[in-house]
């Protein structure tokens, strides 16, 4: 059982890394053309971001979202870019313990706050209970929405929601899964909730 679990986990780690590299790479090209300043001599801003407990000093275009700062400047590609308009939840991170869409948050606005990403939640050797539950219940297919789902689910358990499946579904409606893994995501959250 344990061996089986490790194999599954290893497979996910490899798959997630592959997806991140491929999709992250193609998206960063788009992001660079859209988010980088034209050669107008616009000034950069010094911005300090505290991510997963570590302080980072960055020099950023004021237009940089927290999502782009995490992915393109800090290389924390676990946080995904889906719609980039606050409609899909793939970019969900925690700011001061609360879940937010990092795509609609300017990096400059997040200065001074405690930012937590999926990389700060757990690692392959010490998974967060929610990560472990997603593995055990197969709460994903392609894996692209998964980090957002997990960040959202962890924060959700600290919010004042009722205990029914309907409550969990409503609380998680800001995270879209195009593969349709909702049933297993629900099972994973239910397990952590009752643990």
């Amino acid at each position: 059982m344990t061996g089986n679990r490790l194999t599954r986990r290893d497979m996910l780690t490899v798959a997630a890394a592959g997806t991140g590299a491929l999709v992250g790479g193609s998206l960063s090209t788009t992001a660079a053309s859209a988010a980088e300043p034209a050669a107008t001599g616009q000034g950069l801003m010094d911005i300090s971001l505290r991510v997963n407990g570590a302080e980072h000093r960055l020099s950023l275009d004021p237009r940089t979202t927290l999502l782009d700062a995490l992915r393109e400047h800090l290389r924390l590609t676990g946080t995904k870019k889906g719609c980039d308009h606050g409609q899909c939840g793939a970019c969900t991170v925690h700011i001061d313990g609360r879940r937010v869409n990092s795509c609609l948050t300017l990096a400059a606005v997040a200065e001074g706050a405690d930012i937590t990403t999926i990389e700060g939640l757990g690692d392959p050797d010490r998974l967060h209970p929610m990560q472990q539950a997603f593995l055990e219940h197969d709460g994903y297919q392609c894996g692209y929405c998964t980090s957002g789902q997990i960040m959202s689910a962890v924060a959700m358990l600290k919010e004042p929601w009722g205990g029914s499946d309907a409550d969990i579904k409503e609380a998680m409606s800001g995270n879209i899964c195009r593969c349709g893994a909702y049933k297993n995501i629900l099972a994973a959250i239910r397990q952590v909730r009752s643990a």
Binding site: P62, R99, L104, L106, E159, G174
Partner: protein, 332 residues
């Protein structure tokens, strides 16, 4: 996204000073305040909003919910939608507001979005959001693509020949039924604006959505004391069960005594160019027994002046049923 300079306001006066430099507080303003950013950053990415200066107001001391001396509530403009929805006093005394807030957007967005920002939320009309198309709200005089275009989710009440964009907010509908007052601080001091006067009809100037002037900063929203014995309810109808804008919604506050309705406040969402208070429905309710026939008559009255376009005629019947159902729940 167009380039802008970013600064952080240390106090309201600094924010107001910065905002006063703009020529308008409406669409196209050169200076924008950012709080949650859920509307503004979205529209800046679409080049619908192109401020040259963005002022972060998140650090202003406006994030408290307080009881007022008259038993009402004073809500800071920076109180997040999720915190307001889950506030114990709001849940107890203004249930319709909590329900409306929780029916809007997603948990993530509600954690970001603020009371003041929600008041200024922009329409979801697809032409407003697409700079390649004509839109009188975004670009005055360019025409309205929606009147003969995709108008399924747009307004049937308060429209004009120049704009049929619907106000997308749930919170604003509840605040309208609760007769909230918007406290605005500006270059010439502070003023209180009843919510019924805050939003403007599109008329010939759909680009002008509120009475806000350059430099104006919403600091608070005031709620009157809860009406004794009244019950309230918010019902939202939409294309999917969650995380979707209203096709039609209703916020109602109702109190009966001796078998007759003695107090009624009715507002509709999703169908109006602004959060739609219906004095016609309220008049049809007052003094009448709280029963199905009364609610149906009120619903008819509320939609009597509705004007459908090619795709949104269904909203008239939908809004009627929505209102009748909300009234019936509040009276139960």
């Amino acid at each position: 996204m167009e380039p802008f300079t970013f600064s952080r306001a240390a106090d309201p006066a600094e924010a107001i000073r910065a905002g006063t430099a703009a020529s308008t507080a409406q669409q196209g303003a050169e200076v924008r305040f950012v709080a949650g950013g859920t509307t503004l950053i979205d529209l800046m990415k679409l080049d619908v909003e192109t401020p040259r200066r963005v002022v972060d107001i998140n650090h202003l001391p406006l994030a408290k919910v307080e009881r007022t001396s008259d038993g009402g509530l004073k809500i800071g403009a920076l109180v997040r939608n999720s915190d307001l929805a889950n506030n114990a006093e709001v849940k107890r005394d203004y249930a319709v507001l909590s329900q409306a807030l929780l029916s809007g957007a997603s948990s993530q967005l509600r954690n970001m979005a603020t009371t003041g920002g929600n008041l200024l939320q922009r329409t979801r009309c697809v032409y407003f959001r697409d700079t390649a198309t004509a839109c009188n709200k975004r670009e005055p005089g360019s025409g309205c693509s929606a009147i003969h275009g995709f108008n399924r989710n747009l307004a049937v009440l308060g429209t004009s020949d120049h704009c049929i964009a619907s106000n997308p907010s749930d919170m604003n509908v509840a605040l309208t039924a609760l007769e909230a007052t918007i406290v605005i601080r500006g270059a010439h001091g502070e003023r209180n604006v009843p919510i019924g006067d805050f939003f403007l009809l599109p008329g010939n100037t759909p680009d002008r959505e509120t009475v806000m002037e350059p430099g104006d900063l919403i600091t608070h929203v005031l709620l009157p004391p809860p009406h004794r014995g009244a019950r309230s309810h918010y019902l939202k109808l939409r294309d999917r069960a969650s995380y979707e804008f209203a096709l039609a919604s209703a916020a109602v506050v109702l109190a009966s005594e001796g078998g007759a309705i003695r107090h009624a406040r009715v507002a509709l969402g999703g169908v109006g160019t602004r959060p739609w208070r219906s004095p016609e429905a309220e008049a049809a309710l007052l003094g009448r027994p709280a029963e199905r026939a009364t609610f149906a008559a009120a619903a008819d009255a509320a939609l009597r002046s509705a004007k459908p376009c090619s795709q949104n005629g269904f909203k008239i019947e939908l809004a009627k049923r929505c209102l009748a159902s909300a009234l019936s729940t509040a009276a139960a």
